[in-house]
């Protein structure tokens, strides 16, 4: 095997990831680092301009609390999030993001992001908390501010360096290791504090598509569980690992439905035109006290739709034509109606072109003109994304000033957004139990976490001690798939079929099949039970053993190998947490057939877990849900 140079980088704050949260962290950290003479380093596996979930752009900013309008309070936002997550929410974290998010959005505008304005200069809302944007270059703009900030403060950023493992000594994070996807270099980052912001996890479950469209997940295939692995493997307590997110989107290409529901007030119906939200309303009583809250929790809306699907009432349609007609009918005359229609049409297509271009291709290829006929919608596959309507992530400290006497002992340990590992912070998809942060809230949380991490560095300003022997061993482990391939490739005439190793693509398929069939994926109609999960865990054990036989032909494939390992840990945390929570709380995300009801008396609680690397054991913990407000 070729030689790999070891490159050592020393820094005060290491930011792992280059997405929305990481870019927020880079800006905020640079501002404070400049004043305190500290160094900030950011590492992204891709190019910051187009990395992460916002690579394609977005058509809305989904969290804007608009506190000063007087229309909304922090409590309103908190209530909304808590209800959407069926009561399981860290209110201190949600509130902390909500009280800062408006300033983030105002900064976006200063950096050049076009936010829609009405004739009076007010932001145009898509819904109560959502703002419309021309967001094709959202990520480029946010990355530009981050890079300029780093440059001003003497920080640096590395692109195309894939972070594989955390460096942890005595429950203190002292940095991370990874490798370049472009040249034979192994990187060792030594840091006084480390912020994990490497997004969520996609392709843990089997997607619906089977061929070329395999990569068309709703969330991006390049968010591959690095945050979850980093925190789990580093020994951090994790939370809400059972709370996956399954969005309902236009069928197959997964185009957004938000504008259709919120802006155009469209209805979704069964094939027969029945409104499943009304026709299946009796079901709501089973999920009280969340069944009847307004707006209805995302998973409950999914569930009422799925009931129709399971009853054989599909296809399910978004009634786009009716919605457009209704809006046009409200216009005073024909000319105004025509103008309005044209405007709506552009908005509808822009919604796709800004963030799910595949959907525009699919509509064009199937001759869909939304004002003429309805389009099918469907539940996608399960994703792990703590920033959206899922909740999985690391268990982090809240801010001190938002705690009350009851919450402080449970939710506060020194620095906002620090995990239970000293010096390891998390934000965005990487931190749990604080859903509905989306792009703007993730950026905000990155800012909060970065400032707190620098406060930690100032208080614990000693050089990180990294055990050289351990790093050498890690280097061998990280590069092993390359060595394995070299060693065995000559054993057969087909490099794909070789009894000595497994290539990353087949490894991913195997993981996905286990998750799909045993952990309630698409083909299992999102249903599972204790026995299925136990069987799935047994199969996962074989997979884990075989992970040491992964083989990579080149650096790109080496990245794929480690993405698979990262996903595998996310998968195990998920199965164990579903098994631990003996009830069904989010029926539209997963349904435990052996415990089919919600049990608020016993399970209005967080299911947390800690992985002990030395023994390979998972410790499951129940933590109380405590509200700041009633």
């Amino acid at each position: 095997m070729e030689q790999f140079e070891t490159v050592t980088v020393e820094t005060d704050l290491l930011i792992c990831g280059g997405g929305m949260a990481a870019c927020g962290a880079a800006v905020e950290a640079s501002y404070w680092a400049k004043q305190h003479g500290l160094k900030v380093t950011l590492v992204d596996k891709a190019a910051m301009d187009r990395s992460g979930a916002v690579a394609m752009g977005l058509s809305a900013i989904n969290q804007y609390v608009d506190l000063n309008s007087g229309n909304n309070t922090l409590k309103d936002y908190c209530d909304y999030v808590r209800n959407d997550l069926m009561g399981i929410t860290r209110e201190d974290l949600v509130t902390n993001i909500a009280r800062h998010v408006d300033s983030t959005v105002h900064l976006f505008e200063k950096w050049g992001l076009p936010i829609w304005k009405d004739t009076e200069g007010n932001y145009v809302h898509e819904g109560r908390w959502q703002l419309m944007i021309n967001g094709e270059s959202y990520k480029i703009i946010v990355a530009e501010a981050a890079k300029n900030a780093l440059a001003e403060a003497g920080g640096e950023y590395y692109e195309r360096v894939f972070i594989t493992h955390p460096l942890v000594e005595d429950n203190k994070c002292v940095g991370a290791v990874g490798f370049s996807v472009r040249e034979n270099k192994f990187y060792v980052f030594k840091a006084k504090a480390t912020l994990v912001a490497m997004g969520g996890a996609v392709h843990v479950f089997k997607p619906r598509s089977t061929g070329e469209g395999f990569g068309r997940s709703w969330y991006p295939p390049f968010n591959s569980g690095a945050s979850a692995f980093f925190t789990i493997y580093g020994g951090a307590e994790m939370t809400c690992q059972e709370v996956r997110f399954i969005p309902v989107r236009f069928k197959d290409a997964y185009g957004p439905v938000g504008a259709w529901f919120l802006l155009f007030k469209s209805l979704a119906t069964s094939a027969h035109g029945g409104n499943y939200m009304k026709e299946n309303a009796d079901e709501l009583a089973k999920w009280e006290p969340y069944g009847h809250v307004k707006p209805s929790p995302a998973n409950i809306r999914n569930w009422l739709m799925m009931l129709d699907v399971m009853d054989g009432k599909g296809p399910i349609y978004m009634q786009t034509a009716d919605a457009i007609k209704k809006i046009a009918d409200e216009a005073p005359d024909e000319k105004a109606a025509a103008r309005k229609l044209k405007e709506l049409e552009a908005e509808a297509w822009e919604d796709f072109l800004d963030m799910t271009i595949s959907q525009a291709i699919l509509w064009a290829a199937t001759n869909v003109e939304p004002d003429k006929k309805p389009s099918e919608i469907m539940a996608c596959d399960p994703y792990f994304i703590g920033s959206h309507s899922g909740a999985s992530g690391a268990w982090v400290s809240g801010p001190e000033d938002l705690q009350n006497d009851d919450t402080k002992s449970e939710y506060f340990w020194g620095y906002a957004n620090m995990t239970t590992v000293e010096g390891m912070f998390a934000a965005g998809d990487a931190s749990g139990a604080s859903s509905h942060k989306f792009s703007s809230g993730s950026h905000t949380e990155g800012r909060i976490a970065a400032k707190a991490a620098l406060a930690y560095v100032v208080d614990h300003n000693d050089a990180p001690t990294v055990d050289g022997a351990k790093v050498e061993a890690l280097k061998d482990e990280v590069l092993k798939p390359l060595a394995t391939f070299e060693q065995f490739k000559g054993a057969t005439t087909d490099p794909d079929i070789n009894p000595n190793y497994i290539r990353p693509k087949q490894f991913m398929y195997r993981l996905q099949k286990i998750m799909d069939e045993y952990s309630g994926g698409v083909s299992a109609q999102f249903k599972t039970n204790d026995m299925l999960l136990e069987k799935g865990l047994e199969l996962l054990t074989f997979l884990k053993e075989d992970a040491t036989s992964l083989a990579a032909e080149n650096l790109h494939e080496l990245m794929r190998c480690w993405e698979d390992v990262h996903r595998m840990y996310q998968a195990e945390a998920h199965m164990r947490s579903i098994l631990f929570r003996e009830e069904t709380r989010w029926p539209g995300y997963y349904f435990r057939a052996d415990k089919p009801t919600l049990d608020n008396d016993n399970w209005l609680a967080f299911c947390n877990c800690v992985y002990h690397k030395d023994t390979g054991e998972w410790e499951m913990k129940k933590r109380p849900v405590k509200y700041l407000t009633v």
């Binding site: 905020e28 394609m56 105002h106 200063k110 800012r447 909060i448 100032v458």
Partner: protein, 155 residues
């Protein structure tokens, strides 16, 4: 194929210091075949159809063909991105449906590269341990006056 490269248009980014499409793809899919100096997508089944490569290619050599396993043939969505806006052209499978063209702005008021991260508003205190973030509280809402941090405690 998802993203595909038109050989006549691709010059391997000879004039640039890095291959643009290879530089930008968030999933590390675009690679340059150095022998023929043409780029290609090395694993179409992991392509998100995000168009990042399409938009950055200096020669408009990259297009996207909808995923063959569920998208009927014959339609196309093409993008032309400049420093201020993006032009989209949509061709339907049914050629009787008139192609659609849209142009949307992509940034406003700040030239490319010029996003100034700091100091749009004063920062209320310089205490690393306070909850005040850069540009707060003034930046929370400049038009209507600052939001008081203590508003939080009276949730």
């Amino acid at each position: 194929m998802p993203s595909f490269v038109i050989p006549d248009k691709c010059d391997g980014c000879k004039a640039l210091d890095k291959t643009a499409c290879q530089y930008i793809c968030p999933n590390d899919l675009m690679v340059l075949d150095k022998e023929i100096m043409k780029a290609y997508n090395q694993d179409p089944s992991m392509c998100w159809e995000c168009y990042s490569c399409v938009k950055i290619c200096p020669n408009q050599a990259i297009e996207v063909r909808g995923y063959a396993d569920f998208v009927p043939m014959g339609a196309s969505v093409t993008a032309m991105r400049s420093s201020e806006d993006i032009m989209w052209t949509l061709q339907f499978r049914d050629k009787n449906i008139r192609p659609k063209r849209f142009k949307f702005p992509i940034r406003r008021g700040v030239a490319e590269g010029q996003a100034q991260p700091f100091d749009h508003w004063p920062t209320g205190d310089s205490d690393l341990n306070s909850p005040t973030l850069m540009c707060e509280p003034a930046g929370l809402n400049t038009d209507r006056g600052p939001v008081k941090m203590d508003k939080v405690l009276t949730l």
